[in-house]
Symmetry: C2
Subunit: 337 residues, 2 copies
DNA sequence: CTGTTAGCGCCTTCAA
DNA sequence: TTGAAGGCGCTAACAG
C-alpha cells in the first residue's frame, strides 16, 4: 500500500474522509482533487472538477485545516491574550473585535494569562501554537515574550509594552483626561482626589501622569490619592477613605468600576440620584453607564476606531513594521460631573 | 538532500528551527530528539537527552503543535460557541471555564455564531478546525451540526439542543423558580406579571413553562405577560407596559438584565432603594446584583458545579456517551423580593 | 536504548 | 491540463 493511497471500502469507516478518498472516488489523482477543491482558480478541467466536487459532497469531505496549514504556512488562527475576562472593560469592544477577526476568515484563540508565571509556563512547556498573529491585552506580557511564545512576528500590543518590532494600538488618554479636568475647572472645582489602579501597569502609570499634569494646568489642587486596583470593591474602599471630613470638590477614578463602587457607598446620601458634595469622574465609558443607576461622567474612546486599527495591523502586508496607532479619547458628561 | 535533512548553516536563518535542526546539532537521530523532548518518559539515554535539551535550548526550538497533532490525532483545541459575548450571563462563569480548560492543557478557540446563517457558512466554507471538543452556548446550533462542523464527537451542549449522541449540561431551572415563587406566595403575593425573552429558544420555552406551573401550584394568578429579549432595554419597555394602573403584586423577569431595566425606570419612585408597589424577581443571579444599585432577588446556579460538569464531560474517557448532567438552581433573596 | 522508515493530510513543484 | 513525487514537522512502529 503506497503512501496516502487507501482503499476506502476496507479502511476504518469511522475515519474522516481525506482528499485521497475523494480522489479515489472521483477517479483522479490527489493533486487534481486538491486543485479542484482549491478556492483560488487552478488548472483543472471542468469535467474533473465536477466529479471531484460530487465525490467530496458524497463523502462529506471537509479539509483538515491543520494539515493545510502545515504546507501553507498559515494557520488562520489569531491568539488574543487577556489577564482575566473581567479586564475587558467593555464586552462590546471584544465582541466586535472577534466578529471582525472571524470576518477576515481567521479564528480566535483565547488565551487567559492570569499572571507572569503563566507566561513563563507557556514558554517553558512549549504549549503555544504557531499562530498567525497575537493581540495582547494582558499586562503580563511584553512584545518579545509573545513573539517567542507564538512564533509570530505579528504581535499587536495594546498594553503599552510594545517595542520597535511590534505594532501597537494605544488610546491617546491625555486628550480625554484633559477634557474632563478642564470641564471640572469650569464648574468651579478647586480641589481633587485621585483613585488609581495598580501602578505596576505602564498604562496606569502614564494615565496617572496625565491626570496630574492636567490638574496642574487647570490650577486644581490634588489633595488626596487612593490606590485601588480598578475593581468595584476598591472603589468602595476609596469612598471610605476619601469622602469623610475634608472631601475634595471632585473625585477622579481611573476606572469606571471604582467610580461605581464609590458611588454606591454614597448612594444613600443623595436621593437626587447623584452625589452633591463632590463631582465624580470615571474612566472607560462603560456601556453600563448608560443605565440610570450609574450616571457617571467618564472618558472613553471610539470602539470602532480601536477595532479598525487592530484589524488594520492584522491585515497589513508588511507584518513586522512596528507602527503605533493612536486612538483619540473623549470626555462624556453625565449627571455626576 | 533527503527528506527532512537540512544543513542548518545553509538554510534560511529566519526559519524556525525544527526538530531536525535540534537532532543535527545534538548529533542524534530525529527520533531520538523527539523522544528526549517528549513530556512522557521515553527510552533515551541520559547523556543523549542532555545533549538534545542543550541543542534545543541553544536553537530556541519550540515544537510545532500543529504538526504534532497531525500524528497524535489530537489538537488540544476546544471550541467554544457563543451567540454574542453579551449572552454570557456572567463573565465569572466564562472566566473560570477558560481557566479550567487551559489548566487541562488545552487551548480555547472562541467562535462567535451570531445567527443560523453563520453556522451554515461554517459548514459550507469548511473553515472549521478539527477540534478535540466543542462546548456550545449558542442557541443557533444543534448537536448534529456542531459535530459535523468540527468533526468532533465530543460536543457538549449547554443550549438544550442536545441529542442522544452528545452530552449536555443543563441547569435544573424548575427548582429555583419554584423556590422564588413560593417565597413570593409566603410574602402574600396574589397576582403576578411575567417578562420573558425570545420564545424561539428552547431553554426559554421551558423556563416559561416552569414559571407558569409554579405560579399555578402556589395559587398566584398570572395577570399579565410581556415579551422582551433578555436585554436591559426590553426590561425598560416592560416597565412601561406593566407598571401602570393594574400593577401585579410581583413581576418575574426571565433575565436579570430585564429586571434591571425595569428597576431603573421605576427608580425615581422609590427613595428607599427598592420598588414598593410590587416585588421584583430576576433570573441569572448576575454578580452585578451584589452592587447596591440592583438589589434584585434572583435565581441562579453554582458556577463551580456547572464548570465542573463541563470539564467532566470534556475529560471523560468515552467521548460519545450522551449523558445529561443536571445542575441545581437556587433562589437568592435580596431587597426587591 | 537506538536509528531507520513510514506515514499523519495536504499542497506544490515538476516533468510530461 | 495532468499525475507522480517530494516535503511541511513530527511521532510511532519496527528492527537492531
Amino acid at each position: 500500500m503506497t503512501r496516502n493511497t487507501r482503499t476506502p471500502g476496507i479502511a476504518d469507516p469511522t475515519r474522516q474522509p481525506t482528499i485521497s478518498d475523494v480522489a479515489a472516488l472521483a477517479g483522479v489523482s490527489r493533486a487534481a482533487a486538491s486543485r479542484a477543491l482549491s478556492a483560488s482558480p487552478r488548472p483543472v478541467s471542468a469535467e474533473k472538477r465536477e466529479r471531484v466536487l460530487a465525490a467530496a459532497a458524497e463523502l462529506g469531505f471537509r479539509p483538515n485545516i491543520l494539515a493545510q496549514s502545515l504546507t501553507r504556512k498559515s494557520v488562520n488562527l489569531v491568539a488574543v491574550l487577556v489577564n482575566h475576562l473581567h479586564d475587558l472593560s467593555d464586552l462590546d469592544l471584544f465582541d466586535s473585535l472577534i466578529a471582525r477577526i472571524q470576518g477576515s476568515g481567521k479564528q480566535v484563540m483565547f488565551v487567559r494569562v492570569g499572571d507572569v508565571a503563566s507566561v513563563q509556563d507557556f514558554l517553558r512547556d512549549g504549549l503555544a501554537y504557531h499562530v498567525d498573529a497575537a493581540i495582547v491585552f494582558s499586562d503580563f506580557a511584553d512584545a518579545a515574550s509573545v513573539r517567542e511564545m507564538f512564533r509570530s512576528e505579528r504581535v499587536i500590543m495594546l498594553n503599552g509594552r510594545h517595542d520597535a518590532e511590534s505594532p501597537a494600538v494605544i488610546a491617546d488618554e491625555a486628550v480625554g483626561i484633559h477634557q474632563a479636568i478642564s470641564h471640572a475647572a469650569r464648574q468651579g472645582v478647586k480641589t481633587a482626589a485621585l483613585v488609581t489602579g495598580r501602578s505596576s501597569s505602564l498604562v496606569e502609570q502614564a494615565r496617572i501622569g496625565y491626570y496630574r499634569a492636567a490638574l496642574g494646568i487647570e490650577g486644581i489642587q490634588l489633595i488626596r490619592t487612593f490606590q485601588g486596583d480598578y475593581s468595584y470593591e476598591s472603589g468602595r474602599a476609596a469612598a471610605a477613605a476619601l469622602c469623610g471630613e475634608r472631601c475634595a470638590d471632585a473625585i477622579f477614578c481611573t476606572s469606571d468600576a471604582m467610580a461605581m463602587g464609590l458611588l454606591d457607598v454614597q448612594r444613600k446620601d443623595f436621593p437626587e440620584g447623584r452625589p452633591t458634595r463632590f463631582r465624580l469622574y470615571g474612566y472607560d465609558d462603560l456601556s453600563l453607564l448608560s443605565f440610570e443607576a450609574y450616571p457617571i461622567s467618564s472618558i472613553g474612546y471610539d470602539h470602532r476606531a480601536f477595532v479598525d486599527a487592530i484589524i488594520a495591523h492584522l491585515t497589513a502586508s508588511d507584518s513586522r513594521v512596528g507602527g503605533v496607532s493612536h486612538i483619540a479619547t473623549r470626555f462624556t458628561e453625565r449627571l455626576t460631573g
